[in-house]
C-alpha cells in the first residue's frame, strides 16, 4: 500500500543559510513526482527529510496509510527508501549488498535469495552477484543502489538524482528501471532531477520547482 506524504511548513537551516523555507505539499499515495531546481535549491534536503534521514528545523511531515497517520519510528522508516547520489556500497559482494535491507528486517534466507536474484535481474547485474561491489563501475553502482532499494519494495521511493554522472547507456537503463517501478508497483515515487525529459517520462509532467528552498510551482 503506497503512502501519502503531507509536508507542512518544512524549514531547514544549514550554517545560518535557509535551504528549505516554509515548504508545504501533499504527495498523494501512488503518485509520481519530480522535484526540480538548481543546485543548492533544497531538493536533496527535502528528500532527506521526507526519508526521515534528518529532521526539519520547523514544520512536520505526516505519513498517511489511507486516513491513518503513521507514528514516526523504525516501522515507518522501513516503509520508505531513499537512493542517495553517493550509493554508499558495503565492502561485500553485490548479492550481500542487495540482501542487506531484507536481512536487517529478518526476512527468511530462502525468500532473501529469491528476491535478491529478482532485483539483480531487474537491474541487469545477475552475472555479477558474487563480485565485490566496490569494484563495479559508476553506472553499475547506481544500478546496484537501485536494486538495493527495489528489493525491499518500499511504499515510498525517493531517488536523488539517480542518473547524475551516468553515461547514456547506463542512464537509459536506469530510466527504464524507474519507469517500470512506476508502472508496475503501487509506490509513491519522488525523484529529484534536472532533466525535463525524465520529468515527462517518470512523473507525467508533475513537477515541483524549488528555488533557494522555496516551492515556486507544484
Amino acid at each position: 500500500m503506497a503512502l501519502t506524504l503531507s509536508a507542512l511548513n518544512l524549514g531547514k537551516v544549514y550554517q545560518g543559510q535557509p535551504v528549505l523555507n516554509d515548504f508545504s505539499y501533499r504527495f498523494e499515495a501512488g503518485g509520481a513526482y519530480a522535484v526540480m531546481g538548481p543546485n543548492g535549491s533544497g531538493k536533496s534536503t527535502l528528500l532527506r527529510i521526507l526519508a526521515l534521514l534528518e529532521p526539519p528545523d520547523t514544520g512536520v511531515v505526516q505519513y498517511l496509510a489511507g486516513s491513518v497517520i503513521l507514528p514516526p519510528g523504525l516501522d515507518l522508516r522501513r516503509r520508505l527508501a531513499l537512493l542517495l547520489p553517493n550509493v554508499g556500497v558495503f565492502n561485500t559482494t553485490v548479492f550481500n549488498n542487495v540482501a542487506y535491507g531484507l536481512k536487517v528486517r529478518g526476512v527468511p534466507w530462502e525468500e532473501v535469495e529469491v528476491r535478491v536474484r529478482r532485483a539483480l535481474e531487474a537491474v541487469g547485474l545477475c552475472h555479477k552477484e558474487r563480485q565485490r561491489a566496490v569494484t563495479l563501475s559508476s553506472g553499475e553502482t547506481k544500478r546496484l543502489g537501485l536494486a538495493r532499494v527495489l528489493v525491499i519494495a518500499p511504499e515510498v521511493l525517493l531517488l536523488d538524482e539517480p542518473t547524475a554522472s551516468l553515461d547514456p547507456a547506463n542512464m537509459e537503463l536506469v530510466e527504464d528501471i524507474i519507469l517500470r517501478v512506476k508502472d508496475q508497483r503501487k509506490t509513491t515515487l519522488i525523484v529529484a532531477t534536472h532533466d525535463h525529459a525524465q520529468v515527462e517520462r517518470w512523473a507525467g509532467g508533475r513537477r515541483l520547482y524549488l528555488d533557494r528552498g522555496k516551492l515556486l510551482t507544484g
Binding site: 534521514l53 553517493n86 554508499g88 558495503f90 561485500t92 535491507g101 536481512k103 536487517v104 565485490r132 569494484t135
Partner: protein, 239 residues
C-alpha cells in the same frame, strides 16, 4: 669480530637444538604479550567503537588522550605500576609485583591506547555514505553500528597488529614490574638486556634473532591485512 661470529654460531645451535631455556623464555614472552593484547583488545575495542561511532561531550579530549597514550614511555608506565603494585602501594594487596600478571598489566597499558586510537580512527574513517545507506535501508541503530564496524574491519585488525608490535618489543616496563626472575618473569627483551650486560652474547643473539623474526612476521601480517582488504578474497563474512 671473532666473539660476534662465535656468538652467532652458538646462537644458531641454541635455536636449532630447541634449547629448553630459550623455549621457556619464548613461550613466556608470547604468553605475556598475547595476554596483554587480548586484554587491550577487549578493553580498547569498545572505546574505539564509542569514539568512532558516537558524538559526546569531551570526545575530542578522549581521542587526544588516547593519541598521547600511544607514545607512553614504557619506563614511566613501569614506574607508576611499580608504585601502585608495591607492598606500600594502593594495589599492593593484589601481590602482583614481580609476577607475569604485573607484566601483562604493564603491556596492556601500553597496547590499549594503540588499539583504541587506531581502531577508533578506522571506524571514523568509514565513508559516512555507508551509514546513511544502512539507515535508508531500514537498519536499527545497532545494525547501523555493526555495519560501520564491519566496514572498518581491516583497519581494526591493523590496529591490533600494530599493538602486537609494540608489546613484543617492550622492555622497560616489564623489567621494572616483572623483576626479570629466571624461569618465572624473564622474557625475550629482558633476557637480551641481562645477558648482554653479563657478556653472554649467544643467548642474547639467539633471542634477538627470534625477536627480529617475530617483528618481521608482525609487519608482514600488517602488510598482508592491508593488501587483503583491497582484494576480492577479503570479503568479511556477512551474516
Amino acid at each position: 669480530m671473532d666473539s660476534i661470529i662465535q656468538g652467532f654460531s652458538q646462537a644458531f645451535w641454541l635455536i636449532v637444538s630447541g634449547d629448553r631455556e630459550l623455549c621457556r623464555i619464548i613461550l613466556l614472552s608470547l604468553g605475556v604479550s598475547g595476554g596483554a593484547l587480548a586484554l587491550a583488545a577487549l578493553l580498547g575495542l569498545p572505546v574505539a567503537a564509542l569514539t568512532g561511532l558516537k558524538r559526546f561531550p569531551l570526545r575530542g579530549a578522549v581521542v587526544s588522550l588516547l593519541q598521547t597514550g600511544m607514545g607512553l614511555p614504557p619506563v614511566v608506565v613501569g614506574l607508576l605500576l611499580y608504585m601502585l603494585l608495591s607492598r606500600q602501594g594502593p594495589l599492593g594487596f593484589l601481590e602482583l609485583l614481580y609476577t607475569p600478571g604485573a607484566m601483562i598489566l604493564a603491556q596492556t597499558i601500553l597496547a590499549l591506547p594503540i588499539v583504541a586510537s587506531l581502531a577508533g580512527a578506522a571506524i571514523m574513517g568509514v565513508d559516512p555514505a555507508v551509514k546513511q545507506a544502512a539507515v535508508t535501508l531500514g537498519a536499527t541503530p545497532r545494525q547501523q553500528s555493526f555495519t560501520v564496524i564491519r566496514e572498518a574491519g581491516y583497519g581494526i585488525m591493523a590496529a591490533i597488529i600494530a599493538a602486537a608490535g609494540r608489546v613484543m618489543a617492550e622492555v622497560g616496563a616489564v623489567l621494572m614490574v616483572g623483576g626479570n626472575i629466571a624461569g618465572y618473569t624473564r622474557v625475550m627483551t629482558t633476557t637480551i638486556a641481562l645477558e648482554t650486560d653479563k657478556g653472554n652474547f649467544e643467548l642474547a643473539i639467539a633471542l634477538g634473532v627470534i625477536l627480529l623474526a617475530l617483528s618481521l612476521v608482525i609487519s608482514l601480517l600488517l602488510r598482508v591485512v592491508q593488501q587483503w582488504g583491497k582484494t576480492e578474497a577479503a570479503l568479511i563474512p556477512w551474516p
